[in-house]
């Protein structure tokens, strides 16, 4: 699986546009729901998706398969760009803190098939993240999906910074076990 992806990136690095089309078909459906979950608006999500794949084409020569799978390369990039987008939108508002429930649960207005897809979708996420104790799941969601920093999370949850860091670490370790067990 990963080898096919890495081969595609190598072909993209050599300027192969067909390889890019295959690469897009393979990874866009994985990163699009992630971007949409973070930015919440479908039009914004489409913009971010385009930016992310454009960068993948541009940076393909720099991809190093020993440093991670193409999937992790794309997911990391998609999450970063999506968070950049919500931060630039909210930069003016100093007090901006993504509302907990909204940040995690609110869906953009969308057509019925999308809403259905997302409902199904949310069920799956909950099963993966739900295996974590609530306190750990909460900090990972606030950081990874809502883009809050540790300081913002600590203020928000009224917990010491050290506790936030510990929960994140334990949560990631637990998530790693859950993902390994399910793969």
């Amino acid at each position: 699986m990963a080898t096919i992806g890495a081969d595609l990136v190598r072909q993209m690095a050599a300027g192969d546009r067909d390889a890019f089309a295959v690469f897009y078909d393979r990874y866009a459906p994985v990163v699009f729901p992630l971007i949409l979950r973070i930015v919440r608006e479908r039009a914004d999500a489409s913009d971010v998706l385009q930016e992310v794949f454009w960068e993948a084409w541009r940076d393909a020569p720099a991809y190093d398969a020993t440093r991670g799978s193409p999937e992790a390369w794309m997911v990391t990039r998609a999450r970063t760009r999506a968070i950049d987008r919500i931060r630039s939108t909210h930069r003016r508002s100093e007090t901006f803190v993504a509302p907990l429930d909204e940040g995690i649960a609110a869906a953009p207005r969308e057509s019925a098939p999308d809403a259905l897809a997302r409902a199904a979708d949310r069920g799956t996420i909950m099963t993966a993240l739900d295996r974590l104790p609530d306190a750990q799941r909460e900090v990972i969601e606030l950081a990874y999906y809502a883009g809050l920093t540790q300081t913002e999370i600590a203020e928000r949850l009224k917990q010491p910074l050290g506790t936030v860091k510990t929960r994140i670490r334990l949560g990631l370790e637990r998530l790693r076990e859950v993902m390994k067990a399910s793969s």
């Binding site: 690095a13 050599a14 300027g15 546009r17 890019f20 089309a21 897009y24 078909d25 866009a28 459906p29 994985v30 990163v31 699009f32 729901p33 992630l34 949409l36 479908r42 489409s46 998706l49 385009q50 794949f53 454009w54 084409w57 541009r58 020569p61 720099a62 991670g68 799978s69 999937e71 992790a72 794309m74 997911v75 990391t76 998609a78 999450r79 970063t80 968070i83 930069r91 199904a120 979708d121 799956t124 996420i125 993966a128 993240l129 606030l142 950081a143 990874y144 920093t149 540790q150 999370i153 936030v164 860091k165 510990t166 994140i168 670490r169 990631l172 370790e173 998530l175 790693r176 993902m179």
Partner: protein, 261 residues
């Protein structure tokens, strides 16, 4: 050295939540080369990718793919038509050169192999250099963009720093937002001696607070992100001192730049 504190920092960094001085320190730790943290970050990225993959896939609007293929199809070589990117274009050209060199090598057989090998090595070295330069330029551009954005905010102040003591000709400006922090830009500072770096301090009513360390380039210029002050306490003076590279909790070295009270 005890590595334990870095394990927690690495996890927090992996979910993009590390901020302030800890982020500066951790990035320095990574830049020094830490296989343990590199492995933790790789592993975390794969876990988060697996989490993304565990959700049902969603087909994005077809217009996105059409637009991307159009951009790539009309872009000459690897050049981005909408933004000038001469370095990216150069990277594409070099990649193409390497590819052509490889094909030709197979065709003309062993006679030219040694020479082609050398060309490929030279191309690879050039490729790496162009990529480093591009990364540095992108980073600088990002800083300028943020500074320009900050300047549009009416709450932002611009504070002048004047050279003192060993470097009277040095100059600096701080772009400062009371709640979000800001940037310092300096010029005419000599490069810090080996093992030393410039340290920025924010001074309010209490003791000077460390706000990170930075270096200047060969032309004496440098910039540095200043994290917000805890609790949004007002800053009365910004000062730069010369300190050991790893940073110090309170100023010890000579003050090279400071704002007026």
């Amino acid at each position: 050295m005890n590595h334990e504190p870095y394990d927690r920092l690495a996890a927090t960094y992996a979910v993009g939540a590390l901020d302030g001085q800890e982020r500066v320190d951790f990035e320095r730790h990574l830049a020094d080369g830490c296989d343990v943290c590199e492995a933790t970050l790789r592993d975390s990225a794969e876990t988060l990718a697996a989490l993304a993959r565990s959700r049902p896939p969603m087909i994005p609007p077809p217009a996105v793919k059409e637009e991307l293929l159009r951009r790539i199809g009309t872009a000459p070589a690897r050049r981005d038509a909408s933004r000038p990117r001469p370095l990216v274009w150069a990277v594409g050209t070099i990649a193409a050169t390497v590819a052509v060199a490889a094909l030709t090598g197979a065709y003309v057989a062993t006679r030219y192999e040694a020479r082609l090998g050398q060309m490929a090595r030279e191309s690879a070295a050039l490729h790496a250099r162009v990529q480093r330069e591009e990364a540095a330029l992108r980073e600088q551009l990002a800083v300028y963009r943020i500074a320009a954005d900050l300047l549009r905010d009416p709450q932002v102040q611009v504070v002048t720093l004047r050279g003192l003591g060993p470097s009277p000709e040095a100059t600096g400006r701080v772009i400062w937002h009371p709640a979000n922090g800001g940037y310092v830009f300096v010029a005419n500072l000599p490069a810090a001696p080996s093992g030393k770096a410039y340290a920025l301090w924010t001074i309010g009513d209490a003791a000077p607070q460390p706000a990170g360390v930075f270096q200047v380039d060969a032309s004496g210029r440098g910039s540095h992100r200043i994290p917000p002050v805890e609790g949004g306490k007002p800053v009365k003076v910004f000062a730069v001192t010369l300190e050991v590279e790893v940073g110090v909790p309170k100023p010890e070295g000579p003050t090279v730049l400071a704002s007026a009270k």
